[in-house]
């Protein structure tokens, strides 16, 4: 019934086959021991131990800075905020950039507020799209100018259909270690001729950072 060619005519054939099986069983046993109790087991589980649901908690942190700049008529100043790159070691990502520009009419007896226009941009590292963006603004009545750019905000909760690796890298935001540039321009308006040549502008940066704090299997 069996193909006679698959039966060994010589003793050496079966002996070689036996040696192969012996080595195979030994290798399987050694590998299994290494994988179950050795250091590699943790490594493998990180890659393979995926489930549908992970409970993820996040931490938030804000970086703030205030600058006062004196800008003369028809001139532009750039105010820069540097987000330290060493924050990436702890896993921090930029969730929101918020810039508030305030000013008042400082010329004595002038009842006409100056016109201030502003816009901002930043270095791009990840290229991830933002969910909301207001990158410029203008004011001619001394009201504040608000500009912002926000990426998805993650709330603590259960995230499904992702691997552990994906859970660790879930934040889709801009990286830290970037510079944010606010460009501010002033056009003085005055009810008194030659009375108003510049303006004091206050620039507040608020950078909200977010990182994955903990991942727990559900």
């Amino acid at each position: 019934m069996f193909n006679p060619l698959l039966k060994s005519a010589e003793e050496s054939g079966e002996r070689n086959q036996f040696i192969f099986f012996g080595i195979l069983v030994a290798v399987i046993l050694i590998d299994s021991i290494i994988l179950v109790i050795g250091d590699h087991s943790i490594d493998i589980n990180d890659h393979l131990d995926n489930t549908d649901e992970w409970e993820i908690t996040f931490s938030n942190m804000s970086l703030t800075s205030n600058s006062e700049v004196l800008i003369s008529d028809n001139n532009e100043e750039v105010v820069t905020f540097e987000i330290p790159s060493n924050l990436s070691d702890d896993g921090w990502m930029v969730q929101e950039i918020y810039i508030l520009i305030t000013y008042g009419e400082t010329s004595l007896g002038d009842f006409d507020c100056d016109t201030v226009s502003a816009e901002f941009d930043h270095d791009e590292k990840t290229g991830v799209s933002s969910v909301s963006e207001q990158s410029s603004g203008e004011s001619s009545d001394c009201t504040e100018i608000q500009m912002n750019k926000a990426w998805r905000y993650y709330v603590d909760g259960v995230y499904d259909n992702i691997s552990k690796l994906e859970a660790e890298n879930i934040l889709e935001m801009e990286d830290v270690g970037i510079d944010v540039y606010a460009y501010i321009r002033v056009n003085t308006d005055s009810t008194i001729p030659n009375n108003d040549n510049d303006e004091n502008i206050s620039v507040d940066f608020t950078i909200t950072l977010q990182k994955v704090e903990s991942i727990t299997r559900v």
Binding site: N3, L24, L35, H40
Partner: protein, 416 residues
């Protein structure tokens, strides 16, 4: 460096190769009635394997070109189930090639029928006990197809150093078949020595998810243990081919085992040192995994078919058609190879097209000589096969059974 676009082009080229070989093998099976029926059955199962691969590559292409997330959700299980259908072809080939393991019709047909039965049993049993039963089932079936490579290894160990040319042919043919079927496992051979860490292990799992920790641990060990069979087999082949006397040496087997050995070394270095999220890694993963069954398997199987007389080359009309297919295959294969080179090295399209043109123009001059070389040798290189084990109508039955089984699995994947 090229990224996802190159992957799509590689998939399309692999699709072309699978379609070309699947279609032509099927044509030869039914057209070339002079060849032994067992050899034609082998050729038929190879053709069905390529045709299922062709469908898988078509779905991959559709998936890569589609931008809809919904499409991916539908296609992923479908691809998974079609892959399961290929494992049945693996099993059939290991049972039948180079020579059927049974010499009588009844036990042979029983063994062949038991393969889809095992496949369906695993599917239903997994469904009873596991939440992610389709993944569990896939991995079990993949692992069992590696178990079948024990048959090829037995052929090799028993007959590689035999004084009989026919017996040596069986050993060589069996190991070439193993290289063709489980080549992607062989590219990860460093797992034998626990090298490459979790990345290399997970490369074999194709990013599948596991239902829970305990199951994943058990499944992982089961899958990994059976993967060690062809890997250890590759080392047996490599060592034997180096040690075998010169007169018995087979250059193709030696070069192939060396190729898989070196590929494994490069693969482990790429996996270890290049970040998982880079374009290079995505492309490499495709090249290492899909590339082996999309590019290496076709060449190996055409070589097997020509060298071991699965197609009767003594008939001039058949011989001319085989030559034509060989030229077409070389053209598509050269384009695929350049696509891979171009993906890793930024060579302009126009330059690579020109190089392919130059190589092919030289190649076509040499093609007759190379082809005649293989075909001439093949006249002396026969495989023995038991008579009256199959009848003519069995070919049609196998085609229909495979179509029904594959459609059944595909429907299961679609509507589960």
């Amino acid at each position: 460096m090229a990224g996802a676009g190159s992957t799509t082009e590689l998939v399309i080229l692999s699709l072309g190769l699978a379609g070309l070989i699947g279609g032509s093998f099927l044509w030869f099976t039914f057209r070339d009635k002079k060849t032994n029926i067992v050899m034609r059955m082998n050729l038929l199962i190879m053709s069905l394997l390529f045709l299922i691969n062709f469908t898988i590559f078509a779905l991959y292409t559709f998936q890569e070109l589609s931008f809809s997330e919904g499409t991916e959700e539908i296609l992923n299980p479908l691809i998974l189930y079609l892959n399961m259908a290929t494992f049945m072809q693996f099993g059939l080939l290991f049972l039948l090639f180079p020579s059927p393991i049974f010499t009588e019709r009844k036990p042979m047909l029983l063994a062949m029928c038991s393969l889809p039965a095992i496949s369906i049993s695993i599917l239903f049993t997994s469904r009873l006990f596991f939440e992610h039963w389709e993944t569990v089932s896939f991995l079990m079936q993949h692992a069992l197809s590696n178990l079948c490579s024990l048959i090829a290894i037995r052929w090799y160990i028993l007959h590689r150093t035999s004084d009989s040319v026919v017996k040596r042919n069986h050993a060589i043919a069996a190991v070439l078949l193993m290289f063709g079927l489980v080549g992607s496992v062989l590219t990860r051979w460093p797992v034998l020595f626990s090298l490459g860490g979790g990345d290399l292990y997970s490369q074999g799992f194709g990013g599948f998810i596991f239902p829970d920790f305990t199951t994943s641990d058990f499944l992982f060990l089961f899958h990994h243990s059976l993967e060690l069979i062809p890997i250890l087999g590759m080392f047996v082949v490599l060592i034997t081919e180096i040690m075998v006397p010169r007169g018995k040496r087979d250059t193709v087997v030696l070069l192939l085992s060396l190729f898989f050995f070196l590929f494994g070394l490069v693969n482990v270095m790429v996996v270890k040192f290049i970040d998982v999220n880079t374009d290079f890694r995505i492309l490499w993963h495709h090249f290492a995994a899909a590339g082996t069954f999309g590019l290496i398997r076709p060449v190996l199987f055409v070589y097997l078919a020509i060298k071991f007389n699965l197609v009767d080359l003594s008939k001039k009309s058949i011989r001319n058609k085989v030559r034509l297919i060989a030229v077409l295959l070389a053209t598509v294969w050269a384009s695929s190879l350049f696509e891979i080179i171009q993906a890793f090295l930024p060579v302009p399209q126009i330059l690579s097209a020109a190089i392919i043109g130059v190589i092919l123009s030289f190649g076509i001059g040499w093609e007759q000589k190379i082809f005649d070389g293989i075909a001439t040798i093949s006249e002396d290189d026969y495989l023995s096969s038991p008579k009256e084990i199959f009848e003519e109508s069995d070919l049609f039955r196998v085609v229909m059974a495979t179509v029904v089984f594959t459609l059944l699995l595909a429907m299961y994947g679609l509507v589960q």
